[in-house]
C-alpha cells in the first residue's frame, strides 16, 4: 500500500498565503457544518424536549426556574427505568433453556445444571443467583423476553451500544430512542429524564434537558453563594456552545437537589452494597419523592466475561447476577405500591456466544434475554419466539435474535410515556405486539 493509493482531495498547502486561504475556507466550512448541525437539529430538539426553561436559557437571560412537581395537564407518575448491562449480558446464563442437550454440551464448565434452575415457564429456568427475582415472577410482575436481537446488530461493543441506544437499524439518526420517546411525550420537570452516572447515555442523546447525577445527595457546589451562582450564569449566558447547554441544566439541578436533600428520606428496602444498588435506590427516591421523573437510565458494567466466568456456585458471573437480582428485588420492594407505576427493563448491546471459549468465558454473540419488572407487567410469562440452540438454528454460533428489542421497548414506552406512533420512536420498525403490559 503506497500513499499514492489514497484519494487526495487536495495537495498540502505550501505557502503562507495558501495556508491562510485554506484556513479561511476550512473555517467557513466548519462553521457552516456546525450551524446546520446545531440549529437544524440539536437546537430544535432542545426546545421541544425541555420546554420553556430551555428556551429561556437560549436567550439573553439564563433562567433557573424552579421546577414544578407535577406538570399541569399530564400528572402522570409513571416511570420507565432502563438498566443497561454494559459489555454484553449473557442471557443464556441468566435464563436457561433447561433440559436442552445442546446447551449442556456447549457450556460444560459454565452452564447451569437443570437441577439448580428456578423454574419459569416454557421449559426455561432462572439462574439461582437471580433467586430474589423469582418471587416477582411468581407474583406475575416479572417477565422475560428471550432470543432478543435486532437487524444488523454489530458484535463490536461500542457500535452495538450505539445502535441499540439510538434504536435505529441504519442511517444517521443522532438522537437516542428515549429522547424521541420523551419528545413525543411532551415537556416535564427537571428530573423528567434522569441518568444515574457521570454522563448521559446515548439513549438520551439530543435531550439537552436530561440530567445526570450520582445520587441526589451528591449534588453540590462547594462554597456555594448567590454571587457565585450569579457569576456562573453570566459566564455562560448567550453562548452558542454545546458546552454551555449543560450549565443551566446543572444549575437547575443544583437548586432542586438542595430542596430534596432537605427532606428526610429512608429507603423502603435494604439494598446490597455497590454502585448499581446505590443508583437504583436513588431512582426509587426520586420517583417516590414526586419529582416528575419519567425516564431513568442506569448503567451496570462488568458483563464482558470472556475469561473465567465461573461455574454456577461461584465466580464472576454469579457475582454479577447476584448483584443484579438483589438490587432489582430491593428496588421493587422499596417502591412498594408505587411499583404499579414503574417498570424496569434490562438490556445490553448483544448476547454471548452459545459455546464457552478457551478461557472459560464466552465471546461476543447476538441473541439475548431482557428482564421486565413492574407492577403492570404481564409477568410470570416468557415472551417471544424461541429458535432453540440446535446447530441449524444458530447464527454464526450465536442464539438467533428473532424477537426485536425495539418491540419490547416500544411497548414499555407506550405504557409509561404514552408516546405516539411507532415511527416517531423507532423509524422503520414494523411493530409486532408482544402484550408485555397489562391494560389499565
Amino acid at each position: 500500500m503506497s500513499a499514492d493509493a489514497l484519494p487526495f482531495a487536495e495537495a498540502p498547502a505550501s505557502s503562507a498565503d495558501a495556508l491562510t486561504a485554506a484556513v479561511e475556507r476550512i473555517d467557513a466550512e466548519q462553521v457552516a457544518a456546525r450551524e446546520q448541525w446545531s440549529h437544524g437539529f440539536t437546537r430544535r430538539k432542545f426546545l421541544a424536549g425541555a420546554g420553556m426553561v430551555a428556551a429561556a436559557a437560549l436567550g439573553s437571560q439564563l433562567v433557573t426556574t424552579r421546577y414544578a412537581y407535577a406538570v399541569p395537564g399530564t400528572g402522570s407518575r409513571r416511570a420507565l427505568v432502563v438498566v443497561f448491562l454494559r459489555g454484553g449480558f449473557d442471557g443464556l446464563a441468566a435464563v436457561v433453556p433447561s433440559g436442552d442437550p445442546a446447551y449442556a454440551a456447549a457450556r460444560p464448565d459454565i452452564g447451569v445444571p437443570d437441577r439448580l434452575l428456578l423454574p419459569l415457564d416454557r421449559g426455561f429456568g432462572l439462574h439461582p443467583a437471580l433467586s430474589p427475582l423469582h418471587r416477582y415472577w411468581q407474583a406475575k410482575q416479572l417477565a422475560v423476553v428471550h432470543a432478543v436481537g435486532g437487524p444488523n446488530i454489530s458484535r463490536s461493543h461500542f457500535q452495538a451500544q450505539d445502535q441499540v441506544e439510538r434504536g435505529v437499524d441504519a442511517g444517521d439518526a443522532r438522537t437516542g430512542w428515549l429522547e424521541r420517546a420523551l419528545a413525543t411525550a411532551g415537556p416535564g420537570t427537571t428530573f423528567r429524564a434522569t441518568a444515574e452516572g457521570i454522563s448521559v447515555p446515548q439513549s438520551l442523546a439530543g435531550a439537552a434537558g436530561a440530567i445526570s447525577l450520582r445520587g441526589v445527595d451528591s449534588v453540590a457546589l462547594y462554597r456555594r453563594s448567590e454571587r457565585v451562582i450569579a457569576a456562573l450564569e453570566r459566564l455562560y449566558t448567550g453562548l452558542d456552545l454545546l458546552a454551555a447547554e449543560q450549565v443551566p441544566v446543572a444549575l437547575r439541578l443544583l437548586a432542586e437537589a438542595t430542596d430534596l436533600q432537605a427532606q428526610a428520606y429512608t429507603p423502603g428496602a435494604v439494598y446490597p452494597a455497590g454502585n448499581f444498588a446505590a443508583a437504583m435506590s436513588d431512582v426509587a427516591r426520586l420517583i417516590t419523592s414526586g419529582t416528575g421523573l419519567r425516564v431513568a437510565t442506569v448503567d451496570v458494567g462488568g458483563w464482558d466475561l470472556h475469561t473465567n466466568a465461573g461455574a454456577v456456585d461461584a465466580g464472576d458471573m454469579t457475582d454479577q447476577l447476584t448483584d443484579l437480582g438483589q438490587t432489582l428485588a430491593a428496588f421493587a420492594e422499596d417502591l412498594g405500591p408505587t411499583l404499579r407505576d414503574v417498570t424496569v427493563v434490562t438490556m445490553s448491546e448483544f448476547g454471548r456466544r452459545v459455546a464457552q471459549n478457551g478461557s472459560g468465558g464466552t465471546d461476543h454473540g447476538h441473541g439475548n434475554a431482557m428482564l421486565v419488572l413492574g407492577g403492570r407487567v404481564a409477568g410470570g410469562r416468557m415472551f417471544g419466539r424461541w429458535p432453540g440452540l440446535a446447530e441449524s438454528a444458530l447464527v454464526e454460533g450465536d442464539l438467533a435474535g428473532i424477537n426485536d428489542y425495539r418491540d419490547v421497548l416500544y411497548e414499555l414506552a407506550q405504557g409509561h410515556l404514552g408516546v405516539g406512533p411507532v415511527d416517531s420512536v423507532f423509524p422503520g420498525l414494523s411493530h409486532s405486539p408482544l402484550g408485555l403490559m397489562r391494560v389499565g
Partner: protein, 524 residues
C-alpha cells in the same frame, strides 16, 4: 497588547509574548514544521469576537499550540513558546530527549514499583493483599507526568496510545505486566513507528492477558483480542472485515501467550495450524512453529493497511483538531502516515502545520482529566516531595469521580474523545467542585505558590486589571466584556476601583475558580 474588549494598552503579562510585527501571512519555518501562522491574528489586532466556539478563544498560534500540544498553560509556558519560536518549540517537543525532565525524574522516586519487571512484581506482590499497588503507582505517575513533565507533547501522545491500546489500570490480572507495558511498549514507541508499537503491543503480556489472547488456543480460541485488534487497534469498525475475518484474526494469533516469568512466550502447541485469511492477507500457516512469524507478518500487514492509516488519522485529528475533523485532513494525514513508514513524528508535523489545525481554535472541550491537569498547571502548583504523594492520589480520586481516572477506562475502546460524551450536569458540577478544591489549596503535599503570588505577578492597580491579569495568567487571554463584568460583579466592585489586596484576598479562591469554571478554560 490589546484584546478584543479593551482599547487599553497594558504591559504584557508574558513579556516577549507577541509575534513579530507583520507575522500575518508569514509562515514560521522551523527545523521541519511550517506552522500556519497566517491563520492567526496578531496580538495587536482588536476585532470584536462573536460568541461562538470558533472565536470565543483568542486565535493566537503560541496559545493554540499550548492548548493543544500540551496539557495546558503554566505560568511560564506561553513565554517559553514565544521565546523559542513556535516551530522550534514544537521540534523540541517532537524530540523529547532534548527536553530536560529532571523534575519528573525526582518525583518518580515515589513510585519504586515502576522500575521492576513483571517477574519481580510477581515476587513482590503476588501474595500481597492489594496487588493493585503497582497499577496505582503507575496511574499516579501518569497523572504527575501530565502535570509536571516538560515533555508535554510526548505525554499527550502517551495518553493517546495508552487510550488506543487500553488496558484498564489498576486491574488485578495485569498488576505485574501493565507497568512494564507502559515503559517498554507505550513510552518506548509513542513517538516512534506505529508498526513497532503494534507489534510490541501484540507481544505485551498486559494486552495479551487483558483481552484474553494469553489463553486463546487453536482448538479453543478466545476471539476477544483478535476482534479488538481489527476494530480498535488497526483498521477500525468500518474497516471492511467480516466475522470470518475476526475468527481468523484470533486463530492467527493463537499461541501468542505469556510465560511464568510474566514475559511474552509463543507456545507452538497452542497455535492453530491451517490456512488463515483476514481481509486481503493470507498465510498457509501450515507449521505450528511458524506461528510467531505468521502473526508478525499479519500485524505488519495491518499496521500499513490503508484503513488503519485512515482510522488512526481520524482519531489523531479528533484529538488535536476537532470532534468532527475535516475529511481532507484525515486523508492527508493517512497518506503521510503511510509515506513515512508509519512514523509518528512526520504524521504530527503534517497535523500541526495543517490549515485545519490552524482553523481549529477553541473547537475542543477539555475532558475532565484534562480540565484537572490544566487547572493544576495554570495555578503553578508544584510537585510534592516524593515522600508524600497523597495529593496526587487525591487528584486521581477526583479524576475518577468525574469518570476519567488516568488509564482507567473500563471498555477496550478507551475513553471517548468527543465533547458530547463528557458534557452532563454532574460533570459540570464535578469540574466546578474540583476547581474550588484546587483554588482553596485542598490537596496536601502539593506545593502551592499561593494565589497572592498570582496577583503579585500580575501587579494590578485596579480591580479591572486584577480580573484581566488573572484571566490572562490562567487562560492566556482576557475575557469578553460581559464575562469580565460578571467577575467584577462577583467581587462587588467596579473596574476602576483601586486594587486593595487586603480587601480582595479572601475572594481570590472563588475568583480563580470562576475563571476555571468559565468557557475560556473549558475549551481548548
Amino acid at each position: 497588547m490589546r484584546t478584543a474588549d479593551s482599547d487599553v494598552a497594558v504591559p504584557p503579562a508574558h513579556p516577549t509574548h507577541r509575534l513579530a510585527a507583520g507575522a500575518l501571512a508569514v509562515g514560521v519555518v522551523g527545523a521541519g514544521t511550517a506552522l500556519a501562522v497566517g491563520a492567526f491574528r496578531t496580538r495587536d489586532s482588536a476585532e470584536p469576537l462573536p460568541p461562538t466556539t470558533r472565536t470565543l478563544l483568542t486565535a493566537d498560534l503560541p496559545l493554540h499550540l499550548a492548548r493543544r500540544a500540551t496539557y495546558g498553560l503554566t505560568p511560564t509556558l506561553l513565554a517559553d513558546i514565544v521565546a523559542t519560536g513556535p516551530s522550534e518549540w514544537l521540534e523540541q517537543q517532537l524530540d523529547p530527549g532534548r527536553v530536560d525532565d529532571s523534575v519528573i525524574d525526582g518525583l518518580l522516586a515515589a513510585y519504586p514499583l515502576l522500575t521492576h519487571d513483571a517477574a519481580q512484581l510477581q515476587r513482590l506482590l503476588g501474595d500481597a493483599a492489594d496487588r493493585r499497588l503497582a497499577g496505582e503507582q503507575l496511574v499516579e505517575a501518569t497523572l504527575a507526568r501530565q502535570i509536571w513533565s516538560k515533555r508535554q507533547l510526548f505525554e499527550v501522545m502517551v495518553d493517546f496510545w495508552s487510550n488506543h491500546f487500553n488496558v484498564t489500570t489498576p486491574l488485578g490480572p495485569t498488576y505485574a505486566t501493565k507497568p512494564v507495558e507502559d515503559a517498554t511498549v507505550i513510552r518506548r514507541h509513542a513517538l516512534g513507528r506505529f508498526e513497532d508499537l503494534l507489534l510490541a503491543d501484540a507481544q505485551s503480556p498486559a494486552m495479551l492477558i487483558h483481552l484474553g489472547n494469553a489463553d486463546s488456543r487453536g482448538d479453543d480460541p478466545n476471539e476477544n483480542y483478535g476482534r479488538e485488534l481489527l476494530e480498535l487497534h488497526t483498521v477500525g469498525v468500518d474497516g471492511g472485515y467480516t466475522e470470518d475475518d475476526v475468527r481468523d484474526s484470533a486463530l492467527t494469533l493463537t499461541g501468542w501467550s505469556v510465560g511464568q516469568d510474566g514475559k511474552f512466550a509463543f507456545d507452538p502447541a497452542g497455535h492453530y495450524v491451517g490456512r488463515v485469511q483476514v481481509l486481503s492477507w493470507s498465510a498457509p500457516n501450515d507449521r505450528a512453529e511458524d506461528g510467531q512469524a505468521v502473526g508478525a507478518d499479519y500485524l505488519r500487514y495491518l499496521a500499513r493497511h490503508e484503513q488503519t492509516a485512515l482510522h488512526l488519522s481520524r482519531k489523531l485529528a479528533v484529538r488535536f483538531v476537532s470532534d468532527e475533523p475535516p475529511a481532507a485532513l484525515v486523508k492527508r494525514l493517512a497518506a503521510t502516515f503511510l509515506a513515512h513508514d508509519t512514523q509518528v513524528v512526520p504524521w504530527l508535523r503534517e497535523l500541526f502545520s495543517s490549515p485545519e489545525f490552524a482553523a481549529a481554535t477553541g473547537q475542543k472541550v477539555r475532558r475532565p482529566l484534562e480540565d484537572i491537569v490544566a487547572s493544576v498547571r495554570a495555578l503553578g502548583i508544584g510537585p510534592p516531595k516524593a515522600s508524600d504523594t497523597s495529593g496526587i492520589a487525591a487528584l486521581v480520586g477526583r479524576a475518577g469521580g468525574l469518570g476519567q481516572a488516568p488509564l482507567g477506562a473500563a471498555p477496550p475502546t478507551g475513553y471517548p474523545d468527543v465533547a458530547a460524551a463528557w458534557l452532563s450536569s454532574s460533570s459540570v458540577l464535578g469540574r466546578w467542585n474540583v476547581h474550588r478544591l484546587l483554588t482553596a489549596g485542598g490537596f496536601t503535599g502539593l506545593v502551592y505558590p499561593g494565589l497572592r503570588a498570582l496577583t503579585r505577578t500580575a501587579e494590578p492597580r485596579t480591580n479591572g486589571e486584577l480580573v484581566d491579569r488573572i484571566a490572562e495568567l490562567l487562560t492566556g487571554q482576557r475575557f469578553r466584556a460581559e464575562h469580565r463584568a460578571a467577575l467584577l460583579e462577583f467581587l462587588v466592585t467596579t473596574e476602576d476601583a483601586e486594587y486593595d489586596e487586603a480587601a480582595l484576598l479572601g475572594q481570590l479562591p472563588d475568583l480563580t475558580a470562576l475563571v476555571f469554571d468559565s468557557p475560556y478554560h473549558l475549551l481548548r
